[in-house]
Symmetry: C2
Subunit: 430 residues, 2 copies
């Protein structure tokens, strides 16, 4: 991890796996097979990829009940508290339909409607990711989505992880299918005998899942294409190097391609953080991953002053930004591009990953310039409402017809002018 | 245009031009050429495609002043009134940043920030499309976007349409470039010596423009991939066949692939509308286009009752929906999927295309199931704000660390636990 003087040309090194053309072809093949053979394809592909022979895709109530026996009370209490915090935060994002009325009878408005059905992909494997369920399901529930479907690849013995099942159950998710990979995405987009199609698919997955989501986009909506996770720490001489190093390593342990960057005007801090990172790295269970990440994607940029440091942050547009400075709130207004801003030395990133309330699904790869954390809006859509009374149609009709003709659209003009014709036409046809 | 009994299998016939592989290759070539040769490429491609040799890409103040001489006062007044209506409607969409505070010092919030820079593509050609400028620029301005760049292909004499220039000028758009096609999109995404890059590109264009937007997506944000325009009219026996026919034809004149559909439980109305459509068609200047659209993409579905008609509407999820029934507001709650809902017989679609206030950029091709009209949110992004005090970090740290370990992320757990260490560490390094 080099300490470099910051210049405009410097950026976060980012490598996003876009998949190979072989992977894309394989995914295309899986999708068309699922569209053709539906449940049969799901069963065969699940046996092929997950080694599980399943009689039924859907998780039963007794499986859910059994899962509770293997989750201790302490874990359950933490999951429930996290659920409450996340629900409360996202509840603040809810919006109302609205309308305006005018004296001539005109009514204009915007109707907010939840999506009908959402599919949530939850990765399988040895580890359990209850936070994926909380962060993807809860905003959809807050939005009012009636049907939420969860899919996750089974283990070879045909089961799902107990914590995953319990978390889903705590959230009231009833429709859970043991299917993963591109085949799960295809089933959610196009439907099978067992799985009715959804309107949007969210949740993280490997490159096959990501490619499948891209390919079904348009038929259904998807969440963003996520790159590797990244953190930028903005710090001054008052910051604690051990905190910063620990936070950078918590990002680095995710993925060899994850990136952790420190931006500071303080060279001494820069040197201390570099030292701390290598010291703390030694005892990490995921040392190999974190070490590769720090080596290949870690960076420390030293700026002339705090203003240049803020420029650097906006240039980098990080997924996670920690502000560990003397007066962090003072800088909030100057930060234009960041998915989530962790303010002050006690707000380490993991606080937001699981528990505090804000979503952990955040824009990566510099897309914080124009994208947002996953939020309740993502599970609703707007419809414009437009009502013209006879009076408003008569008052504005000629102007609207003139505008239409300006654009060369005569039939548009005539449609408006039809409403201007004599009143005796009101209840008969011409 | 057949009159068909409605069944679930019936749908809007939709054909979306996705481009050929030759077109895609051509666009890829143009994009990489613009990235390499920048302004030089723009000049050469503009000469090649638009037949215009330009000394300078940027529209000058004197060109804008001159354009005013060719736009009459009546047109100017209509443009200004439309601008006011659209600005007022979109002003209602503005949102505030918010935060919550808790007694232990925790602060959570959501910061709304406008995008830095947006590019608006305005098609060229003989016709002028001032409504494109109004509908794409005004929401960005309401959102607070500081830099708005307009691009439009020049005519062979090197000029832009006068109405287009005047409309841009009325909106205060200062940065207008005479460049179109895939090369304009590439310039907006990657920048040239003259054109600084933007964060998002919006606005309609031909297939080359659409493909270019798809290809630069990720580097910048884009608006939706628009299919041909479509209208569904939901009507009962109280509706006027001549109004419905006129509105269907105003959609049909756009494009041979545009679609106009009537859904009604009333067979008599269905027959009257069919007759009216063919009668009104006869005298339209764009008869050929409208006739092809009605023949290939027009449809009338007769349903058992109004409930089935509402099911049909939700199944079709149209871009534009007109509700011409006895009590149209009664049905508003049952309509789940539509880009814009025109309520009552006087609310013909052109009212919303130009003038009333709601946006005319709407989700096509069934995507109203999960997409929204262009709106102010599209030109802002959210950042989560998260502040934990020493107290909140101490209170929740152990739980967050336990959650991290549940997901197998030890470095995450340690980052949180660092904040739980003894207070004497506060101002020193370990």
């Amino acid at each position: 991890m080099n300490i470099t003087e910051y210049s405009k040309d410097v950026s976060i090194k980012r490598t996003v796996d876009q998949g190979t053309s072989e992977q894309r072809k394989a995914v295309e093949g899986i999708i068309s097979r699922v569209r053709r053979e539906k449940d049969t394809a799901l069963a065969e592909l699940t046996e092929q990829f997950d080694g599980a022979r399943l009689d039924t895709l859907k998780v039963s109530q007794s499986e859910m009940d059994a899962a509770y026996k293997n989750v201790d009370d302490e874990t359950l209490a933490i999951l429930r508290e996290a659920k409450e915090n996340i629900t409360r935060f996202h509840g603040r994002q809810q919006r109302q339909s609205w309308m305006t009325t005018e004296e001539d009878g005109t009514i204009l408005g915007q109707k907010i409607t939840p999506l009908d059905a959402v599919g949530v992909y939850v990765p399988g494997g040895r580890a359990s990711y209850p936070s994926t369920i909380l962060m993807n399901v809860l905003p959809a529930q807050v939005a009012g989505v009636e049907r939420i479907v969860m899919v996750s690849p089974p283990q070879a013995d045909g089961t799902l992880n107990d914590v995953v099942l319990v978390t889903a159950c705590e959230l009231g998710v009833k429709e859970i299918y043991k299917v993963g990979g591109a085949q799960a995405v295809a089933a959610l987009a196009y439907g099978t005998e067992t799985i009715a199609p959804v309107d949007k698919i969210v949740g993280p997955g490997n490159i096959y899942v990501a490619l499948a989501k891209q390919l079904v986009y348009g038929t259904v909506d998807i969440d963003m294409f996520a790159g590797p996770s990244e953190i930028v720490v903005l710090a001054d001489s008052t910051a604690r190097p051990d905190y910063i190093a620990a936070d950078m390593l918590s990002q680095a342990e995710h993925d060899p391609m994850a990136s952790a960057v420190l931006v500071t005007p303080d060279l001494t801090l820069a040197e201390q953080v570099a030292k701390e990172v290598y010291e703390q790295l030694e005892t990490l269970p995921k040392k190999d991953i974190a070490e590769a990440s720090i080596r290949d994607y870690g960076a420390i940029y030293v700026t002339r002053d705090m203003n240049e440091a803020l420029d650097a942050v906006n240039e980098l547009a990080p997924e996670h930004l920690e502000v560990q400075t003397e007066s962090p709130f003072e800088l909030l207004g100057a930060i234009r591009h960041a998915g989530a801003i962790f303010v002050g030395e006690n707000s380490s990133e993991p606080v937001g990953d699981y528990f505090a309330g804000p979503n952990h699904v955040l824009p990566t790869n510099g897309t914080a310039r124009f994208s947002s954390p996953l939020n309740v809006d993502d599970f609703t859509k707007k419809s414009s409402i437009l009502f013209y009374s006879k009076t408003s149609a008569q008052r504005h009709g000629a102007k609207i017809a003139a505008f239409a003709r300006l654009e060369g659209l005569e039939a548009h003009a005539r449609a408006v002018e039809k409403r201007l014709e004599e009143k005796e036409h009101d209840n008969e046809n011409e």
